[in-house]
Symmetry: C2
Subunit: 241 residues, 2 copies
DNA sequence: CGGAATGTTGATATGCCTCAACTAAAGTGG
DNA sequence: CCACTTTAGTTGAGGCATATCAACATTCCG
């Protein structure tokens, strides 16, 4: 398994040019490595964290808790992502972060991270850029969940997850990990469980994609992209695959 | 009318502690002031801007263009907002920004902004924080548009707009500017025009709010907050009103 | 093997969309 | 200033997609 700083360096390099000194500074940071269980919360709405989380392995998710106890999932996070970088500057969490998987995370103290930013602004800028790409992904989620019909919406969601996994080097023969139950998938794209079930079967029937047992299998990428009206520009990769 | 840097200083101060030197640095920046017409695009999806926009007066909006030409509005921006601060670090626009109003904007060159950040990291951090609050607003929009029934959704949207206007000192006897047609309102919360028309009338009938001729009139804030399931924590104001 | 979690399927209900007509208001030109 | 056009908003009828409720099937796991 990769060291935490390698994973983060790789991720930041997807959209930013890091200098050798930036990478060295990342390596020198002291972090805590932790294993987390499926469905375990890592931070909760209302918390005031003093560390940032980076994903080393597995998948994390952000979510809002709705009145009545339901959830709206906001984004998924794979190796290299820092799903609460915002906590560096926003005291209170406005959402929660949980593990979908058995995952491994690293914890970086805010204080040490901020000190590095003052010494190496370009590294700070890379992390800033990272948070901006996330904002772009949120914008796309607004459009996806608000303006696209269900099948298109699901296809778009699959495209995004697969595309990001591929950029992170986490795909293997057209498949990647996507450890969501259909219930959770519904709470992500904003529809009920029976509708999701039928929609997944419908996409399965096209022969383009299949989601089964936490694995997303892409069989016809071009057709899936067309189905999902997917344009990866919003992911702002320096070097699209 | 306020000078551009006063408006931006005020806005940043809503969530950040600026040092006197930060404010002075903002004042020293050279900017271009421009008036824009209603419905005029300020930047378009695909552009590579070399300036940042700050709103001095009026209301701007971000939007995605859908296949078929429709729009999904993503966020509204009032005095002090910098609706494309992200363009500092993300080359290509993944969405467009237009004026809803007759508006006045100021243009700050990326180069000069970045230079100030290197000299005054705390100012950079304030702008960073600003982009993070926007991301929190996007997350809330995902939840609002995906998980709440139409009336709640509309009420929540009204709450957010009113609350932000109040924080910016732009409300007067319970009303603020909200220059959206019902068509645009539908393209914001993700429903059709007839549905919006009925929903607006429905809220009107409760006696809590009214939207008419581009003005949002709040008659019973507490009840509106309850209707919209609104909790302003996600706006991360230092000093909630 | 039994129990829990997950996924599938069907029947019914409903909220929203589409289409369409109409009203009201605002801007335009004679 | 008034007829004309355009834009914005309202209302109604019918249909469709998705929600809800409920039963059942399947897989996973102890």
């Amino acid at each position: 398994m990769d060291a935490w700083h390698e994973v983060v360096t790789k991720k930041l390099s997807e959209h930013s040019r890091l200098l050798a000194a930036d990478i060295a500074a990342l390596e020198r940071l002291r972090v805590t490595i932790r294993a987390v269980e499926p469905h375990q919360d890592i931070v909760r709405q209302g918390d005031r964290p003093d560390v940032c989380v980076a994903v080393v392995k597995g998948v994390l998710a952000r979510y809002h808790t709705l009145q009545g106890g339901g959830r709206q999932y906001l984004s998924l996070h794979i190796a290299g992502d820092m799903p609460d970088a915002q906590s560096l500057f926003l005291e209170r969490m406005d959402h929660s972060v949980c593990a979908l998987n058995e995952a491994v995370i690293s914890l970086i103290s805010h204080a040490s991270f901020l000190k590095v930013f003052e010494q190496r602004p370009t590294l700070g800028f890379a992390v800033w850029r990272d948070t901006l790409v996330e904002a772009a992904i949120f914008r796309q989620a607004i459009t996806n969940n608000s303006a696209r019909p269900l099948l298109t919406r699901l296809a778009h969601f699959f495209c995004e997850q697969y595309y990001r996994a591929r950029a992170a080097g986490l795909t293997r023969s057209g498949s990647c990990s996507l450890p969501l139950t259909q219930t959770e998938l519904g709470e992500t794209v904003g529809v009920s469980l029976p509708s999701i079930s039928r929609a997944v079967q419908s996409l399965r029937a096209t022969g383009c994609v299949d989601l089964r047992a936490g694995t997303l299998q892409v069989r016809d990428w071009q057709r899936l992209v067309a189905l999902g009206d997917f344009n990866p520009d919003y992911l702002h990769l320096r070097d699209p695959p």
